[in-house]
Amino acid sequence: MAFVEQHIHDAPTSFWSKYICSYDHKVIGKQFLWFGIFFLLVGGLMAVMIRWTLAFPGQPFPVIGQLMFPHTGGVVPPDTYAMLFTMHGTIMIFYAITPILIGAFGNFCIPLMIGARDMIFPTLNMLSFWFNMASGILLLGSLCLPLGAAAGGWTSYPTLSTTLGQQGLGQTMWTIALFLLGVSSTMGAVNYITTIITLRAPGMGYFKMPLTVWGLWLTSILNAIFIPVLGAGLLLLTCDRIFGTTFFLAGAAATSGKGDPILFQHVFWIFGHPEVYILILPAWGIVSDLLSFFARKPAFGYKMTALSLSAITVLSTVVYGHHMYTTQMSPLLTQSFMTLTMLISIPSAIFFANWLGTLWKGSIRFTSPMLFSLGVVFVFGLGGLTGLYLASTSIDLYLHDTYFVVGHFHYTMAASVLLGGFAGIYFWMPKMFGRSMNECLAKIHFWTTMIPLNGIFTGMMIMGYAGMHRRLYNPFIYDFMHKLMPMNTFVTWCAIAMGLAQSFFLYNFFKTIFFSKNKPLASANPWEVGTLEWEIPSPAPHYNFKEIPVVKCGPHEFGNPNLKTGRDFQYQTEELVEVK
């Protein structure tokens, strides 16, 4: 495709046009990053409150408990508990991970890595952030309602989420907030897809794009196709709640002509399963790149990895039924969904092998982004393999809705994505804000996160195996769970430890951005990496590239023995050195 150059715009001058209503993809990326980190803290606090309730039932939540629940003496009450886990799920998935991984890295990396001056529709990009903001404010606002926020779980299954199960505005606001967020994500997706298809620098073929861009691209495609599915479900739910339609109300259509709660589950999971991959694909992309960057070795089987990611993207759209085994769909459907789900493990195994192949005979530099990437390989291995239990219909009869599920999806969606996100932040920090973060603190952050993290989620899986089911305010009502009390306490202490460990990150992050003005700026290429964004100064100037680069080789050219430049890597703009 012929390439056309975007014009260089004048640098914004006022505070308003520079930081608030900016059209610059880098600033919008940073806005998403701040937004995501804020919600990550809110969601994390909620997680600790949930864990506290599970491990120390009836004991007041320390420090802020008295302030928040004066009428119970600081104990989290059961209705608040339901609100907490609902909001924790919603916030973490839609308001923390999505903005950080897709909003921040998508905006920041795509134009820089493909050699464009900006996104193709900067206005749409800005709108996308502000829709996101509106949605976030709406969601936080719902926490202040007299009847409380939504409390039907992040899946919000009807009929619990219709007016029958939830009075008050909370659930309605949740629905509308999520719809707005969907609009924002769809706008972002249209922008990303079009940018990647039409704005790649001359010479940048699809198989010369960094895998980060591949991950983000596939994510955007899933977003564009499946977010509207959720949107439709949410609209119908809103109609049920506000206008009195009966889509999801009890009473099978056959007997009473009323609606069917299962309809929502179908719609929700048609979206919901791709959503899992929407969240994880950018992290996979980032990790695939970083492993190669810091092993100083070309990505092993680059094309194979890209194709495996694409295969997973396609497969992810046809497996949603495995979330609904216990609703007793027809056995034929159940079996097809099980088989299709299992097929995902082939491409997964292939790119896993490629990740390890990248490390093989490398010359590994254990920088903080690399540590986090290796962490992702570890936790995603666990998360992926434990998915096999849940994909099988018969085991799922026992494990469905237990903590095993919770442990599994936290490993895949929370742990790997979070670690991948941290890897990305540490890696692109010099390009984003101009200065690198403190490596020592970053490494402490890694270990203090990684160890409790595994304690939490492995502990959850053990509890699930022992039969503990989800969303219980006080599991010890049940006799068979009494023996799990020490385990619960252990998991809670791990969660608190992991929460506290994030202060290393926050300190490092804020210090680097706001309190390092006297330190020199990072060099253009502190990590010695050859992709396009490392050829321009740090922080990236508002026009990105003075001259649009011409790409001549792939993104992972490391360790070529015939290199005469004294470096061990090649920039993408350099002609590939032949090995012969």
Partner: protein, 185 residues
């Protein structure tokens, strides 16, 4: 039309973006139709509960209006003679579609079919609401385009006309499907 290279690139870019956007909208409506099929396949007789006095004439009129408006927009896009008349006709027909929808809802209420009466009325109402909301948005788009057609003619680019047109035709197709599913079959 004589388009230079950067125009051609712009054309490609906007058609990629428009395709993706329409895909998203299509999925929104497709989900509604999926719901319809899921419900319908679980029932042996359709409609599951007999519904008296479902208006037939009004939806047909709406269909006529929206088909004609698409046709007139097509002429506006592709024929040189009588351009602006066709454009005005599109807007008028679009607004008359909205009016006919309004009348449809009134007629439904008149014959005692309420939103809360079960699955079929719920679908009739919610689907037409959703579609009408899109049509309303599209009418605003047409009016915005009208600003360029009549006032700032020098700024009227064929891209704007084509993209608004794509959206308009798309909504027409969705309505025809909706009409067939809800009112005919």
């Amino acid at each position: 039309m004589n388009i230079d290279r950067s125009q051609e690139m712009k054309f490609i870019q906007s058609s990629v973006a428009m395709t993706v956007t329409l895909c998203s909208f299509a999925m929104l409506f497709a989900t509604m139709f999926l719901g319809y099929f899921l419900v319908r396949s679980s029932v042996s007789v359709w409609p599951p509960v007999e519904i008296q006095g479902m208006p037939q004439g009004l939806p047909f009129l709406s269909t006529l209006a929206i088909v004609l408006s698409s046709v007139s927009y097509y002429f506006f896009e592709h024929k040189t003679g009588g351009k602006k008349v066709n454009f005005v006709l599109t807007i008028v027909l679009g607004i008359s579609f909205l009016i006919s929808q309004w009348l449809l809802w009134a007629a439904l209420k008149e014959s005692g079919i309420l939103v809360s009466d079960g699955m079929v009325p719920s679908m009739v109402y919610a689907f037409t609401w959703l579609h009408a909301a899109h049509i309303a948005a599209a009418v605003f788009l047409l009016l915005w385009l009208g600003f360029y057609v009549f006032v700032r003619t020098e700024k009227l680019s064929p891209l704007k006309v084509i993209n608004v047109g794509k959206f308009w035709h798309f909504l027409g197709v969705v309505w025809i499907l909706m009409y067939l599913l809800i009112f005919v079959l």
